[in-house]
């Protein structure tokens, strides 16, 4: 019986093609908009997730703090108060998996006839663990390089591109501020950070080399910041407390004194960014789904017209034995068919639109199966919901009155 009703629904839709098409158009635009906007939102979310992943997980950053001298308060990091010893002490704490002191600065690099100014980070081998950063060639410098402050360097991809072009940099010697450094390895591509910096535009050298040889006068045995990775997300609150305690002890701070360092939970910050993107895309999706609602109202409108136009037909059907649910089902099927066909076209339009947006603006778009399935389910639900009232009106007609209708 369903198949007979489906073919009748198809016939009656075909009997008034323009009207059917215009009714479907509402669904097409609604579904298309939802899919397109979800694709763009997912794309943005994907980018954020990617940069969070590139940052490393369960990450703290300990900044050397402000100091007050003669009533003038200096900003964070202005006075280097953290040392490599602090970093080593933190590494002994429970719940900490890796610690990397950081002594960054900017320096001019020269190789052959090329030169390039970039960020040089003095650190330890565990920096690679903290940042979850792999090498694409060569090998990392070792703890003994750190101990003996050798002149070795790991290059980021952007640096390699600008200094070496297509040449293999491993084993070559570059000059950083005129001193020669042996390139022992090349870092893999990291991409942009959350704030849009190019993470591949940097060079890693042993922290001791940076302190003693490269930025000597600037730091004097201290580091600007220490990156700390907790073993798991659950360990983070406890790790933060014990780090604060430890550093206050090591820096011999009085009970009432302000800390001369700051511990920041980077992962929490990143999660906030991810949450913001997610909320944005949900909100845009919600706005787009209003057009689905409007499409549904269009279907209801046309179904009401159709029921009135076909009153006599309904009368005939009831007279020759259609039960209420037969009539209900027939009109419901018609509404659902309109909304599902409209939805199918909408899915194609939405995906096509997303691909086009990607082509034209280079914006990342991610079309997920779940968004297509969701749009489809919503469209079917809209068909049932907005088709039900007209269908019930048809099913409840009195046969004599319906047959008398001209």
């Amino acid at each position: 019986m369903i198949s007979a009703m489906l073919s009748e629904a198809w016939l009656s839709m075909g009997a008034n093609r323009l009207r059917t098409f215009l009714t479907m158009l509402g669904m097409m635009i609604g579904v298309g908009a939802v899919i397109l906007i979800l694709a763009i939102g997912k794309g943005a979310q994907f980018l954020v997730d990617q940069s969070i992943a590139s940052m490393g997980s369960n990450l703290f950053i300990v900044l050397s703090g402000s100091s007050t001298s003669g009533g003038i308060r200096m900003g964070l990091g202005a006075t280097p108060t953290l040392t490599i010893g602090d970093a080593q002490a933190i590494a002994e704490l429970p719940g900490i998996s890796a610690v990397a002191p950081n002594a960054p600065g900017t320096a001019q690099l020269v190789y052959g006839s090329n030169n390039w100014s970039t960020q040089v980070i003095g650190t330890t081998p565990s920096y690679l663990d903290v940042r979850d950063w792999k090498l694409s060639a060569g090998y990392p410098f070792s703890d003994s390089d750190v101990r003996s402050a050798t002149r070795v360097a790991l290059l980021g991809q952007t640096v390699v591109k600008n200094l070496f072009g297509d040449e293999d940099p491993v084993g070559k010697t570059i000059r950083i501020k005129k001193s020669p450094y042996l390139v022992v390895g090349v870092l893999t591509m990291k991409g942009q950070s959350l704030d849009g910096r190019d993470q591949d535009d940097s060079v890693l050298i042993p922290v001791t080399t940076a302190q003693r040889k490269l930025f000597g006068s600037q730091f004097q045995g201290t580091v600007r910041l220490i990156m700390v990775q907790a073993a798991s997300a659950q360990d983070m609150p406890a790790a933060e407390r014990s780090m604060n305690q430890l550093l206050r002890q090591r820096h011999r701070l009085q009970e009432a004194a302000e800390s001369d360092f700051t511990v920041r939970n980077l992962t929490a910050l990143a999660n906030t960014a991810a949450e913001t993107t997610r909320v944005m895309s949900v909100m845009l999706g919600a706005i787009a789904s209003i057009s689905l609602l409007v499409g549904g109202i269009g279907i209801m409108n046309i179904m009401l017209v159709s029921v009135t136009e076909r009153t006599r037909e309904i009368g005939i059907r009831i007279a020759i034995g259609a039960r209420q649910r037969d009539i209900l089902l027939q009109f419901l099927l018609e509404a659902i068919t309109i909304s599902i066909v409209g939805c199918l076209v909408g899915v194609v339009l939405g995906i096509g639109g997303a691909v086009l947006v990607n082509e034209i603006t280079q914006t990342a778009v991610v079309i997920t199966m779940s968004s297509v399935v969701m749009a489809f389910m919503v469209a079917a639900a809209v068909g049932v919901f907005f088709g039900f009232y007209p269908a019930r009106k048809a099913a409840r007609m009195e046969p004599i009155e319906a047959l008398r209708y001209q």
């Binding site: 019986m1 009656s12 009997a15 007279a319 020759i320 034995g321 047959l403």
Partner: protein, 239 residues
């Protein structure tokens, strides 16, 4: 007359509710019709004959009295049970044919079988059989608008017959047809009544159409004024 009556009506009444209160359209109708009868119902307009046909056809429910169709007490049935009864026992033929304009003749004829839950192949086979029977076997793929009024009424009769009803209710079936076509249609009814024993009840206001029946019931002002055999001497002189 033999066996159980197909229709047994006693003390039947129907009121219509108006602003001025209930207005009786039919009062105290008593009628028994046996299987195989061919009954013509006549009466001036407003006499209640259409109301009576609607009650007979289970399209409407009486206000008072008892109606039993094919042994079933109609007043105890709900809407869906009435629909089932109409589908299985009654074939309707209307004055305005009432075919579905959008679908072809085969599907028009097969329509009652959809609601009887018959499968597609069987539906089409029986619809073709019925179209053959009313002499329109070649026109199965045509639309109602492509054939004449008389042919449309034949299609309507084919539709009425398809679920093998015991009773055919025809409300002015020749009202829109010329006299020659009318007589052809009436010939078809006579044949169904005589050869297949189907009970036929038809409403008409033309005496020569009524003369095809065996029994004549006349309504005046909501009452059953006359019930008797048809006098056959007029038949033929008007044709």
């Amino acid at each position: 007359m033999d066996g159980e009556p197909i229709i047994r009506i006693s003390g039947l009444g129907k009121n219509y509710l108006t602003a001025a209160g209930p207005v009786p359209a039919l009062e105290d109708i008593n009628l028994v019709i046996y299987p195989g009868e061919f009954v013509a119902i006549m009466g001036p307009s407003g006499s209640g004959k259409s109301t009576f046909m609607n009650l007979l056809g289970c399209l409407d429910v009486p206000s008072s009295g008892a109606y039993s169709l094919n042994g079933t007490n109609v007043r105890t049935l709900d809407k869906d049970q009435l629909a089932r009864l109409r589908n299985g026992v009654i074939g309707f033929v209307f004055q305005g044919y009432n075919l579905l304009a959008r679908v072809n003749l085969i599907d028009n004829v097969a329509l009652p079988l959809i609601y009887a839950g018959v499968g597609k192949a069987e539906r089409n086979r029986r619809a073709q059989e019925m179209l053959d029977k009313v002499g329109l076997g070649k026109y199965g793929a045509s639309r109602p608008s492509q054939i004449s009024g008389g042919q449309q009424q034949r299609v309507a009769i084919a539709r009425a017959l398809i679920n093998r009803p015991r009773l055919i209710l025809a409300d002015e079936p020749t009202g829109n047809l010329d006299s020659r076509t009318s007589h052809e249609i009436m010939g078809l009814f006579t044949q169904l009544n005589r050869d297949e024993g189907i009970t036929v009840i038809l409403v008409t206001h033309e005496a020569d159409i009524a003369s095809f029946a065996n029994r004549l019931v006349r309504f005046i002002d909501g009452h059953l004024a006359h019930d008797g055999a048809v006098e056959h001497e007029s038949h033929g002189t008007l044709a």
